[in-house]
Symmetry: C2
Subunit: 212 residues, 2 copies
């Protein structure tokens, strides 16, 4: 047998094996596996979200904050009214001023930024009616924001403002909010300090089937 005939045979086998491997690797990136992992990534991110109250000394950019707000504004709202406004606080003096007014948000000066999610009571539907359920809509928007923060490696925590009068007044005054803008919550945001872990809150006793 010619020596090049042997080389050809060996090369042909090697090529075949490499092609098989390539097809296998490519398929593992294919449609069904990708669909599976998309659901898994979203689900795991929801389970991994935790309240983060201590922050590293590291900046969060306005571009990152814009991503959080894009997520927030993708939430569903009753009668598609979108009765929300957002105040981003990323000025050190403004964060300290807010913290001074809010005894329960002492971690604010350590945060890189905060988002105040507000209801806009001046928004009306096509029949001129204001939103009945702006707190539900703004809560769903807040959850979107918290989930994207988690996915981006940021830490955040929902601190309640509405319906507590003294907190609503303190935040409204610190941010010069007009009367029709009601702060629902204040979300400090930053890179997590330490290793905060999520809670497992699943409880099958909370589930009923087809009737109580």
């Amino acid at each position: 047998m010619n020596k090049y005939k042997i080389v050809s045979l060996v090369l042909a086998f090697a090529l075949l094996a490499t092609l098989v491997r390539l097809v296998y690797v490519s398929q593992s990136e294919g449609q069904p596996a990708a669909a599976e992992s998309k659901a898994s990534v979203v689900f795991q991110n929801i389970l991994n979200r935790k309240s983060v109250r201590a922050y590293a000394d590291r900046k969060v950019t306005r571009e990152q904050l814009d991503t959080l707000l894009r997520a927030a504004m993708a939430a569903p709202t009753g009668r598609d009214m979108r009765p929300w406004k957002f105040v981003v606080v990323d000025d050190t003096a403004a964060l300290s001023a807010l913290a001074g007014q809010l005894p329960y948000a002492k971690m604010l000066p350590q945060a890189a930024a905060a988002v105040v999610v507000c209801g806009d009571l001046s928004v009306t539907d096509d029949q001129g009616k204001p939103s009945t359920n702006w707190t539900f809509d703004c809560s769903a928007a807040t959850e979107n924001l918290l989930l994207v923060a988690e996915a981006m490696g940021l830490g955040a925590v929902w601190t309640g403002v509405y319906p507590y009068d003294e907190r609503v007044q303190a935040v409204s005054q610190a941010l010069s909010l007009p009367e029709h803008i009601v702060p629902l919550n204040l979300i400090p945001i930053g890179y997590p300090e330490g290793n905060p872990t999520p809670k497992d809150k699943y409880n099958s006793d909370n589930i009923h089937f087809n009737a109580w």
Copy 2:
């Protein structure tokens, strides 16, 4: 030149090209890309969520529904009170009975299932106080449920129940809910029929920086 020499050369080039492609494909599955894409997958899923009101004739399993409820129960709650209960309706007769009571949920018999997210007014904190803000907590839980449904290829829509007395009564009666369980909403779930598309609701006018 020997013909096997030519074959060997051609095979050697083909093998080299395939190996280069294999290395490239394998590297594109690597670590940094995965971290980047996690945030992107979560963000895109939030943007892709839409209200789905028409469903294909296809079952949704109890395992899938359990995943939705695990996501719901991972939401944050005020003072960690978890003031929620969930009624899963996946019996055809029960879905039809509910639809009969709810003029605005006529699509229910076409859905594979529905989840009724309820507040539990009997849950109290360590000082014996009931939840002030169970509607916020249940709204965040609902958003988690809707997001995982989207990620799993399912379609769902938030239909409001609370605070509308006649709807609360209709759902409570259909599901035999006790007095302390208040249905916040009813979420029909199924595989989407047709091609529902998400809304782009981003509006930079909704964002203020450091003060109004």
